[in-house]
Amino acid sequence: MRAFLIYTVDGVTNGMVYAAVALALVMIWRATRIINYAQGAMAMFTTYIAFFVIEHGTPFWLGFVIALAAGLALGAVTERVLVRPVESRPALSAVILTLGLLIFLEALAPMLFGAQVQSFPAPFSRIDLTAGGTQLYFSRFDIFTVGSVLCVMVLLFVLFQRTTIGLRMRAAAFNPEIARILGIRVGRMLTLGWALAALLGALAGLLAAPVLFLYPTNMDEVLVFGFTGAIIGGLESPVGAVVGALGVGLALSYVSGFLGSDLAPLGSLLILMAVLMIRPRGLFGMTRQRQV
């Protein structure tokens, strides 16, 4: 029972980090029909930026904010400079482009910041809390992880559903041509969408690094697990992505806890295949093809 609780808390905490990545992937997929395979690498890179400025004397929280801002900028620049020119090309072009960016960033990071594994500071204690003598199974950092991702998700929800800029972004994503004849600057909306997604990714990177350590490929598995969650959720649905990613987090935590940590990625593969065998477009996926 104790073990089960520990694994559950772990699963939820990791799942929230995967959920941030999954949501970022879904946001970009909905807006541009592109999977950003570089999402994890971008997050790794912005975390290195935080690491670098903190090492050089910047206070932790300022470094944290700098990394988030860097994510925002990196996402915007990526959309504007790299993605826009291939948008009208066959889907494979964009896939290869983002894979190229992934390879490039994973090579650039060690060139700039060194290849050795670094430990990245956690803003809060990672030691499990106790309440009145009874041991709890989560730490302040776990609370922060879950809380900050939830907080950003709520903010994004409000932005998309309750503001006019969000309405514009949704219109631009769902039907770019109609959006344009209504005077919506679709290009800007897509740039903003990529920027926000990269911000979410950057948050995931900052939350993952204290646990996984920081090295150039540290986000590869997080990307795969987040992507798995997003696919299970059906790629179209933000709620589906979060649910899927939490499911992946929990499942992996149980698998690695009860069966051995090497088997976690295998577990993720099996879950993914099982879901896709039953529903080739994910649990929340639409069977209807959207007109492009």
Binding site: A171, F174, N175, E177, A179, R180, I181, L182, G183, I184
Partner: protein, 235 residues
């Protein structure tokens, strides 16, 4: 006033519009008629910036529209009701209507414009929270027209608005449109398959055939000229 001059558009090798010139006066409806494939849709898509012409110009009160992006043309108060309605089916009815006037800054005015659309099309008001995908074909057409009007346009491009609308409703809309045209000095370009109803509301008519202008005349004269009607309009 909207002036189209020497407009030529081609899709690859297919010439869809060939040296088309005419003007749409303020405060009046100009009908564009023609058979399937005559180039009517191409014409409005070119005016609203979705299609780049090979040659020619489109002037709105003297300002060149060719070369501008569709979003900036929309911001010059050109509203386009595309062929086959073109609502955003993933959004709610209310959101679709709000999209029409979003590019303007004044929130209060935006709300007023949306409420006007509900007043004009009461069936929409009943479904304002529902998804636009749940609307019937006629309701979608109302939504699309209402959204265009919510933008408070100076030029309104209507591409076959009659599609899916009951005749009575169409007559109502046309009547309402007629009064708006006078009230707001609106220039309307009305594309119609149904030439008879279009000619009854329009001041001027342009007939396209295979991408060329074959007739420009006053609508009532065209409606009265049996030979022309037979040759190009089929009634």
């Amino acid at each position: 006033m909207l002036e189209v001059a020497e407009l030529t558009v081609a899709y690859g090798g297919v010439v869809a519009l060939d040296d088309v010139s005419f003007s749409v006066p303020e405060g009046a409806i100009t009908a564009v008629l023609g058979a399937n494939g005559a180039g009517k849709t191409t014409l409005v898509r070119t005016i609203s910036g979705l299609v780049r012409p090979r040659h020619g110009s489109v002037l709105l009160d003297g300002a060149e529209l060719v070369g501008r992006s569709p979003e900036s043309i929309a911001r010059l108060r050109v509203a386009h009701v595309p062929e086959g309605h073109g609502i955003v089916s993933e959004l709610s009815v209310d959101e679709n209507l709000r999209l029409g006037g979003l590019w303007r800054r004044d929130r209060a005015e935006q709300r007023v414009a949306v409420d006007e659309a509900y007043a004009l099309f009461p069936p929409l008001a009943a479904r304002r929270r529902g998804p636009a995908s749940g609307l019937s074909g006629g309701e979608r057409q109302m939504l699309s027209i209402g959204r265009a009007l919510a933008a408070r346009p100076a030029v309104l491009l209507l591409d076959e608005p009659s599609l899916g609308l009951a005749t009575r409703l169409l007559a109502q809309i046309m009547e309402r449109l007629g009064s708006l045209v006078a009230e707001r000095k609106l220039s309307v370009l009305l594309i119609e398959q149904n030439a008879r109803s279009a000619l009854s509301v329009a001041g001027q008519a342009v007939v396209l055939s295979l991408g060329r202008v074959v007739v420009i005349d006053e609508a009532h004269r065209l409606a009265g000229d049996e030979a022309l009607r037979h040759a190009y309009l089929g009634f």
